[in-house]
Each structure stands twice: as C-alpha cells, then as structure tokens.
C-alpha cells in the first residue's frame, strides 16, 4: 500500500507523533523498527530531528503517522518545542538499564503536559528489555532485520517480561516503579525492545486507539492553519464509524515510509 503522498492524504487521518527522551535510549531504533522493521546496532545519533511516516490501518480507515524523531542530547532540547507543537501523540522513551533516563523522561512528560497540545496522548516507553532477557540478548545478530512474523508475535503477546528468568543485574528501572508513575501521570506504558521488536507495534496501535480521531478530522475540516511547525495538516477523510484497530498484525506489511 504505497500510495503517493498526495492521494494518501485524502484517505488517511494524519497523526503527528513526536519521540522524546534522553540520548541513546533508542528512539530512532524504535522508529526504524516500526517503519521498516529493521534494527541497526550503533545507530548514529539523531542530529536535530528526523522525520518519517508510517501507516496503521484501522477498521475502516488508515492512520498515517507523521513521526518526528528528535535528538536526545540536552542542548537540542530548545529545538524540541518546534517538533512537539501541535503533536497529537508523544512517545517518551527511557532506557530500562539507565536510571537517569527515567528522570529525564519525567521532565519531558512534565513539559509536554504544561506546554504541548492539551489533548496529547503520551506513552511512556522503557526500551532495551532484550538486555535483561537471557534468550534475546545473545541470539539474533544485530544488523539483520527481523522476520516480520516475529514482530507480529510480539504484538500478539504484549511485552510482559517473565519475572522469573530475568537477569536483573542490568536493569536499573523496575517495571513496577515506572508503571506506577505512568498510571499516576495518566500515560500509556510499555516495555519494549527495538532490537527484538518486542512491544514496538503495540505502542503505536494503543496510541491510535486513544487518539480522539473525530476531533482531528473535525479540526482539519475547519481548515488546517499553518500554525508554525509542520503540524495540523491532517487531511480530511471519512468520519463515520467507530475507531477500532485491526487486530491481526498486518501493519508490518502495510508499512511504507513515504
């Protein structure tokens, strides 16, 4: 399903999503996994920000994610508002093997809640769970893209780490702690691995369910103004019908990054 972007805009609902989080927690890797189902060890740091798109099919319509993957280093922080302005969704990532990255994630959440679009859907994501799972950390060679069905499996079984066999030595952020915080702050919560693909597609499907799509469509019909950054350009589409996401994990195949 790789429509040229021009006509796709007519059929799909555009959702602007921004990724935030400390440097090297795996933001770009998560996007890469979601968009092309690939993983690269030693991915170069994002400079400024990167932009990618990916479609998700809902029951009767297509959701088109416009993904802004921002740079993690503190000094790029001042550029971030450019990217999260008008965003309908945000994925705030931390690295479960690095305690300080959760603190940074919390400051991002605070900033988003204070300064971003008031209806923004925020997901808190603890990445790199493969590092605390004995089977995954050694098996797959890093640069080989994962077979698609593996990603689908991950979708089917939400990233529930088996509490028993985990070598907890590397883990610095207990799942319970982060989850409790997410609950308290009203965030979606996931633990993922961009390396194995675990939990990645889930982030985006759960966000899609929570997004007030009717509102987006309504506001875009009212004439999407050029409000500063490249946001709020959601194309008009069909509006009738409830919003539910297709449950069989076919997103991997639908993926097109145009």
């Amino acid at each position: 399903m790789s429509d040229p972007s021009g006509s796709a805009a007519d059929k799909s609902v555009q959702v602007k999503l921004v990724l935030l989080g400390e440097a090297a927690v795996g933001k770009s890797s998560i996007v890469l996994r979601f968009v092309s189902n690939e993983f690269q060890a030693n991915k170069e740091p994002t400079i400024g920000a990167a932009f990618l798109t990916q479609k998700c099919r809902l029951e009767d319509r297509v959701l088109r994610y416009e993904i802004w993957d921002t740079a993690g280093q503190e000094r790029f922080h001042s550029l971030a508002p450019m990217y999260y302005r008008n965003a309908q969704a945000a994925v705030v990532v931390y690295d479960i093997t690095k305690g300080s990255s959760l603190e940074k994630a919390k400051t991002w959440v605070k900033e988003l809640q204070r300064q971003a679009n008031p209806n923004i859907v925020i997901a808190l994501v603890g990445n790199k769970v493969d590092l605390v799972q004995p089977s995954a950390s050694s098996s797959s060679p890093a640069t080989t893209p994962e077979p698609e069905d593996e990603a689908d499996d991950a979708t089917a079984t939400p990233g529930e780490p088996s509490a028993g066999g985990e070598p907890e030595s590397l883990r610095q952020v207990p799942r319970e702690e982060a989850e409790a915080y997410a609950q308290e702050a009203g965030l979606l919560f996931f633990e993922t691995s961009a390396k194995t693909g675990e939990g990645i597609v889930e982030i985006f499907t759960e966000i899609a369910k929570k997004i007030p799509i009717e509102q987006i469509l309504a506001s875009s019909r009212g004439g999407a103004g050029r409000a500063g950054a490249a946001g709020g350009r959601a194309g008009a589409g069909r509006t009738e019908g409830g919003v539910s996401l297709e449950e069989n994990g076919s997103k991997g195949k639908d993926a097109c990054n145009c």
Binding site: S5, N42, G48, F51, S78, L79, S100, T107, A230, C258
Partner: protein, 886 residues
C-alpha cells in the same frame, strides 16, 4: 614568514611574486597595489607580525614541525622523477625507511580511505598539488593563488587532504604555536569525568559505524581522546552531538593532534555558536538560510510556504554535520574541502559555503521540489538526490562529455556560477538582520526555562526577567564568553545530579555588552558627521566603573556572572529609592566593605559619577561632582575622629593616608544631599538609566544625504562601509568638518542653567577646621587646573582624537569639560567632540578639493570592492573545462 591573518590581508590588497626557488624559507616579493595609507598599514602590520613571530622564538621549531607535514615529503620526492603513479608510492616507501620524516596521517592510512583511488584520480591530483606546493610554498608558508582554490575544487588527494584542511583553515598555526598542548590537556585531565565525557562515551560507537576503524579500538580511542580534549579545553561548549561525526570524519585524514586543532577552529571560529549549549549559531543560520532561499529561489520558497514544509527540517542536520551524514562520504569530503578553503579565505568567521551549496541543491531539484507536499516528501527527495550524486547529471544527452558530468560536479558548478552573488557579506548582513529576531524567538523556550530555573526572580516580573535574559543572550551572541578555566577535578567528580549542566556564565567582556543593552551610560551613542555623511554609531562603553560593577555582582568570586547573578545584581539597583541608591553607590565603592570610603575611594567614586555624566549637556553635572568632592573632603576632615585633647581649631591634625578609612555612609549621604543635582540623580535619574526594553535605534536627523549620500546607499558591503567611514572621517578631520555628537545618558538637562548648591551644612567653625591639605591633595591627584573653569577651555588643545577611547581618569574629566564647553557654544542636545587637530598624516588629502576627494574615494572603493566573484567565475570556467571523471 607571515602569519595566516596577514596572508589573508595581502590576498586582499596585493600580489605576491612566486618564490624563485623551493628552499624552505623562500623569498617572497610583495607588490602592493593600494592607496598609501592602506599600504602603510599593511606594511606595518606585516612588520609587526614578523617581529612578533621572531620574538616568540618559534622559528627554531619550524624545522622540526615541517617534518610532520606530508607536503614536505611530496615536494622532496617529486624532484626525482616523473613516472605517473610510481612517484607517490616510492616517496612513501622512501619516507618509511628514513628515520627523518615522521609526517602525520589519519586512520585512512591503516583502514583505507573512502572511495576508489583510481576513480578519484588520486595520482594526477597528487601530481598537480606537488607542482603547486613546489612553486608556491606549503604548510606553514603556503601562498594561496586563485589556482589553489581551483585545485581544491577539483578535489584534494586523500593523502594530502588532512594537511591541506589544516593549512586552509589555519588550524596548522594553532598546532604549530601550541606544541604539546593536546597531550598536556589529556594528561592533566586524565580520569576526569563530566557530563561531556559521559555523553561522548555514549556516542563513540555511534560515529561513522560503517567505517572499519570505528569498529576497533584504534578508531574509538582516537575519537574519544580528541573529543575529550576538546571538551576539556572548551568546557562551555563541551560536547555536542554532531561533533562526534565531524571528528570521526576528519580523523580519517589526520592525526589526533591535527584533528583536535581543526575541531577547535571549526567549533570556535568557522561555525561559532553551532555547538554551544544554546546552539544560537545554528538557529541563526537557519533563519539566514531561509531568507536566502526566499531571495534566490522565490518560487520554491513560496511553494514550501504554501504546503507548509520547513526547510530546516532537512537543512539543520546538513549544517550541523557538514553533510557528512547526508551524502556519500566521498562527496561530503569534497564539500568540506571547499568549506575550509573558502571559509578562511573570506577572512571572516563565517562560511558562505554551506549556504551556497545548499541553495544550489535546492535549485537543481527545483522542479521536483515544486511537487513536494509535505516534510516527508522533501526529506525523501533530498535523500534520493544525495545518494545519486555519483550518477550522470545528463544521462540522456547525446554529447558524451555532458553525459560524463556527474551530479556532484553539476552541484559545484551551479553553486559557483549561479550563486556567486551570495558573498560572505550578504550572509553577514542577513545574520545581523535576523540576530534580533532569533534572540527573541529562540523558540522562547530556553528563555522560559532559564527564567523558570532562577532561584529567585527578586522583584522582577517574569517578563522583565525575560528581557534581562534577552539582553544577556544578545550579549553572548555578540561577545561569546571565552572558555573558562576548569575548576579543580575534585569539584567536578562529585556530581549527585548528572542532569545538572554547568550554568552559562559570562566574563567581563560579555558583561560589558550586556550592560550596554540595559544601562544608558554603559554605551556610547553618537552621531558622526564628517562633511560627507552622517551616521549613527553605537559602541560599548569602557570604564572602571563597569568593571567594578562586575566584581560587585560576582558575589561568589567566580570571575564570571550567571543569569541569576545578573538578575539579583540588577534587582539591587533598579528598585532603589533615594537612600537605597546612595547606599548602593557607597557600597559599590567601598572595596573592603568596612563601612568607610578611603580618600582614594572617594576619588574613584567621583570618577564613576563623571563617567556616568560624561555626555550630559552643560556643566551642571560637572559642577555637582566638583562640589561633591570639595564637600566630601571638607566634611570628611571635619568629622574625622580627633585624638584626645586636640585643639579643634588647630590645623595641625595628622593628615590621614589616602588608603585609610575616611568617610562613612552617613557623611556620604550628607554630602550627596547637599546638592540638588546629585540628590535628583540618586532619587530618580540613576534608576531610570536602566531600561529593560531593547535599545531603540538612533534616529538620524532627516537631512543626511550629504556629499556621499547616493554613494553610501549603493555600498552594500559592511566592510566597505567601515572602510569608507574611516576614510571619510580622516578626510573630514583634515578639512575640519569632522564632528561627533554624543547622546547623554540621562539627558534631563538640555538648557544651560546653573543649579545652586544648597547652603552648607557646616557651621562656620567646622568649616574653618577643615583641613586645607585634604582639598589640596585632591586637586593634586585629580583636578586639572582648568577644571574649575571648563568654559574657558581652549577647544584646539591637542587631545586624543578618538572620543571612544578608554576613559582613564584624566581624559574623562578633561573630555567632559571639553564637551561642556562645546555644548555651550553649539547648544545642541548632543555634546560635541571636534577632532580638528589630528596628528595622523593625511598630507595629500589636506589640500585636496572635494572633487579630488571623490576620485580618491572612488578609486579606494574600487580597489576594495573587487570581491571574490571574479575568482569564482574563473573557477567555474575551470570546472567546466576540467577533464571528466572516467
């Protein structure tokens, strides 16, 4: 041997004859074609630079230094024979054997250089360069002719690339004059950790990971050391992502030490502010770039606006990593070749280069860009374009020559042919234009968070604190704070909160700029007219008072002020009432904080007042200060504690030393309140010299067309304007038409009247008891004999010709007095400085009629306006005729 800066100068103003032989200290004949003052200036600069160079005693180290340069080896080997490919290989093996040569090189030597050596025509490039280096000097003594630029355009040979980058960017001179510095930095900071070192560690394996060296400790270690050394040297900048990519790239071509200095030059001089914590340089350049696109490619710009695509989405990473991550490495490196070559050749800090090429990229893709509907499309198009740079630009053409032109060559051609109009000056002008805007819109984010992070707002509102932040930010843009000395390592390693960044602190220099944005007396605003033109100028004032304020506000004795320090400092003065202001002023001058001013301090305080009043009209303020001094000494002596049983009427009290406690706050207050002018100064005027709004532009009187009016408007380059200004000033002085009007800091009194001092508070007896000696000594120290009668001053007395020169004690008073006298005659709202008798020689000009002057000006401008565009056109020509890649 001249230093780099000088070389740039003569590139601009003169021709050099090539040396007749290629022994190391080669003979250079300098031929000047310029006006005499310029020539003299040039010669004296050259002479001084050469002398300084000799004095530094570094000539001895040249011999050892050049051994580290590959070019020496090339030149030495090239003498032997001419066989095409063999010469270099032979030279290398020869050098390998000889213990003598120890030339430096990068990781590429071991891990191979990117690209195919045959395809890159390495051998013929090396040969061309060998010839050039032989003829025109190399490394430290390279002379740049247009041909050099052309050769760079064609591409540098891999083996020579690192050294040429060093030479072209000027970093070789830093390496030469700081031997061992790199190792020392690493040694002294061994084992130290900081936020920067942590961030560096994270990115070491994320820098050009596909290049084999960065999969081994060889590359990783080198990268770590270079980045760490830079962060130790410039802790304010520290480490910014993108620097890892830059460093990794240049390390392929140069040794660690070379890379370290080159990185230093890139971050501090070529791309200032790009990698700083606020990244103001980057933000500024994005605005400049957008406006250039608007001007050069209006259709594309309009389209982007219409579909709401942000240019910076794609261009920000290009600028930050100099295209290294965006296009195939071989091409990125050739862009970097050009970058170093042009960036320093324009003798300016900034590069026009990446702007030009980026605009060329857009131009070439013009038609496709017009189809773009969103950011995603834009980014994809650019990605595709970059990955196809090696392909033919005209695959359908019937002419095999045209087919052979690659897209990359096309890119360079278009950059030079079409956008030669974008000079460095254009970009500078744009930068200036946007500076204010960027400052205010720096996504208002860092501002808000800085304001939020303040421990206390004091009595300011958030908006006011924001204005203070704006002034500080502007000051940092204009005068970036120098790298501060690191605190001892022990302090740094104890960091509980790894998130805490070191605060931005500014030094005295930046502080002066900051203050000039806030306080009227901290800047010099003047209108200069010289008979040809009138112009408004603004400068940052210099005075001990400002230095004093800096240290006064530096309550933690760190030698630098943070945003919080400035807010608290301003709070201490901006909300004061009469009594508080008096106390504040007193404390500011009470150096040892013992509650007393010494006699010296009383004098310094008077100096401060005179500084603030320096451009006020009339002699009212001057009189007030003079009365203040005599009163202070009068009361001071009268109220001095006397030895037990001394005769109160006796004049023979032991004279008190000038550095001993003398008057206290109460006395000071009394003295101040004895004078109407001073009272109103401390009551309202002083506080109102602080303004938190942006400084308004000075409005020129409407009739300023003058003799050069039309000429003025046609000069587009700022540098040329400066030259013209200086030149017309000189002429103006020689024909007695040079005039400078200053804006007063308070500007309350515009008419001249003599406010009366209040009645003395002293009883006649007390008055009598005042020691004459004190008064006398004050006069001896400070007051020139003419002080009491400023109106009698002779205007034609020789004085310093530059009114903005430093206000050392004597000239301040002197100038204030002169300004007064002048004001008496002219009755303008500005004080006047008439620099009639200038001792600089302008003999030819003095007898010149205005026509002659005009001719001179024309010639002068012509000589200076011959920019680089000619050279660039030539270059484009050359590229067209360059032999195609096989």
């Amino acid at each position: 041997m001249a230093r780099n800066e000088d070389r740039q100068l003569y590139h601009y103003t003169c021709q050099l004859d090539p040396p007749s032989d290629d022994l190391f200290p080669c003979v250079k004949v300098v031929q000047l074609t310029s006006l005499r003052p310029t020539a003299d200036l040039f010669c004296s600069l050259l002479r001084d630079a050469l002398k300084a160079e000799l004095l530094r005693g570094q000539m001895k180290s040249v011999k050892g230094f050049v051994k580290t340069c590959y070019s020496e080896m090339l030149v030495a080997s090239g003498n032997e024979e001419d066989d095409r490919d063999g010469s270099v290989a032979k030279a290398e093996s020869m050098a390998g054997n000889s213990s003598d040569s120890m030339y430096l090189g990068g990781l590429g030597l071991k891990f191979k250089f990117p690209g195919d050596a045959r395809k890159l025509r390495e051998a013929s490039k090396t040969k061309l360069w060998t010839t050039y280096l032989k003829a025109h000097g190399r490394n430290l003594s390279l002379v740049r002719y247009p041909q050099c630029t052309r050769l760079v355009q064609v591409g540098l040979p891999n083996r020579l690339r690192g050294e040429m980058w060093e030479t072209l960017s000027g970093s070789i001179y830093l390496r030469f004059s700081n031997p061992g510095e790199y190792e020392r930095l690493l040694e002294e900071n061994k084992g130290r950790t900081s936020t920067s070192t942590e961030e560096i560690e994270k990115d070491l394996h994320r820098s050009l990971p596909e290049y084999p060296a960065y999969q081994s400790e060889d590359g990783i270690g080198a990268l770590r050391r270079v980045l760490q050394a830079y962060s130790f040297k410039n802790p304010d900048t520290g480490y910014c992502q993108a620097m890892n990519i830059l460093a990794a790239a240049i390390l392929i071509y140069m040794s660690e030490e070379q890379a370290f200095w080159l990185l230093d030059v890139i971050c501090d001089r070529l791309l200032p502010g790009y990698y700083s914590p606020s990244m103001h340089g980057t933000l500024l350049d994005q605005r400049v770039f957008e406006s250039l696109v608007h001007r050069c490619l209006p259709i594309i710009y309009e389209h982007f606006m219409a579909v709401d695509v942000q240019l910076s989405v794609a261009s920000l990473p290009w600028f930050l990593s100099l295209f290294i991550n965006s296009m195939p490495m071989v091409f990125a490196f050739r862009i970097i070749d050009c970058f170093f070559c042009l960036a320093s050749q324009i003798a300016s800090l900034y590069d026009a280069k990446s702007h030009i090429q980026t605009i060329a990229i857009l131009k070439i893709n013009g038609e496709k860009l017009l189809q773009i509907q969103d950011d995603g499309g834009f980014i994809h198009l650019m990605r595709d374009y970059f990955s196809s740079l090696g392909a033919s630009a005209h695959p359908e053409s019937s002419d095999p020559r045209a087919r052979a032109i690659t897209r990359f060559q096309e890119l360079l051609l278009v950059s030079f042919r079409e956008f030669a109009i974008i000079t460095d000056e254009t970009i500078q002008a744009e930068r200036r234009k946007f500076r204010g805007e960027v400052i205010h819109s720096i996504e208002s984010f860092s501002k808000r968070s800085a304001v939020r992070n303040l421990k206390t707002l004091e009595r300011f509102t958030k908006e006011q604190a924001g204005s203070i932040y704006d002034a500080l930010f502007k000051a940092i843009c204009i005068e970036p704070p120098p790298a501060t000395v690191l605190p001892p390592p022990s302090l740094l390693t104890t960091k509980e909160n790894s998130e805490e960044r070191p605060e931005t602190r500014v030094g005295l220099k930046t502080f002066k700029v900051f203050l000039s944005e806030i306080a009227t007396w901290a800047r010099v605003e003047k209108i200069v007219s010289n008979g040809f033109q009138q112009r408004a100028e603004r400068e940052v004032a210099e005075h001990e008072f400002i230095d004093r304020l800096f240290f006064f506000w530096d309550t933690n004795y760190r030698g630098a002020l943070s945003f919080q320090d400035l807010v608290s400092g301003l709070d201490g003065v901006m909300f004061n009432d009469l009594m508080e202001n008096i106390e504040w002023f007193f404390n500011l001058h009470d150096k040892n904080k013992d509650g007393f001013l010494t006699k010296d301090e009383v004098l310094t305080l008077s100096e401060s007042l005179l500084f603030i009043f320096r451009y006020e009209v009339g002699d009212a303020y001057l009189g007030a200060v003079s009365r203040f001094m005599s009163n202070a000494f009068e009361y001071g002596d009268a109220l001095l504690p006397r030895p037990e049983g001394a005769d109160p009427n006796s004049e023979a009290t032991t004279p008190i030393e000038s550095n001993q406690p003398y008057i206290n706050l109460a006395t000071f207050r009394m003295v101040v309140l004895a004078d109407e002018i001073l009272e109103s100064f401390f009551e309202t005027d002083f506080s109102s010299t602080f303004k938190l709004e942006p400084v308004p532009m000075m409005d020129l009187p409407p009739s300023h067309t003058g003799l050069l009016g039309s000429l003025w408007t046609t000069i587009t380059s700022d540098d040329n304007r400066k030259i013209l200004n200086r030149f017309t000033d000189e002429v103006g002085k020689s024909i007695g038409k040079h005039q400078v009007l200053y804006r007063p800091a308070i500007g309350k009194i515009t008419a001249l009247e003599e406010p009366k001092a209040r009645e003395s508070l002293l009883t006649p007896t007390m008055r009598r008891s005042t020691s004459k000696a004190s008064l006398k000594s004050a006069e001896d120290i400070l007051v020139p004999s003419s002080f009491s009668a400023p109106a009698n001053l002779n205007l034609s007395e020789p004085t310093s010709s530059i009114p903005s020169a430093e206000y050392s004690p004597m000239p301040t008073m002197f100038e204030a007095a002169r300004a007064n006298a002048a004001a008496l005659m002219e009755r303008t709202p500005f004080a006047i400085d008439d620099a009639k008798d200038d001792d600089e020689d302008t003999e030819e000009d003095t007898e010149g009629e205005e026509d002659d002057v005009m001719d001179e000006v024309d010639a002068f401008l012509e000589a200076h306006d011959s920019g680089l565009s000619a050279a660039e056109q030539e270059l484009a020509q050359d590229l067209i005729h360059a032999e195609p890649v096989k």
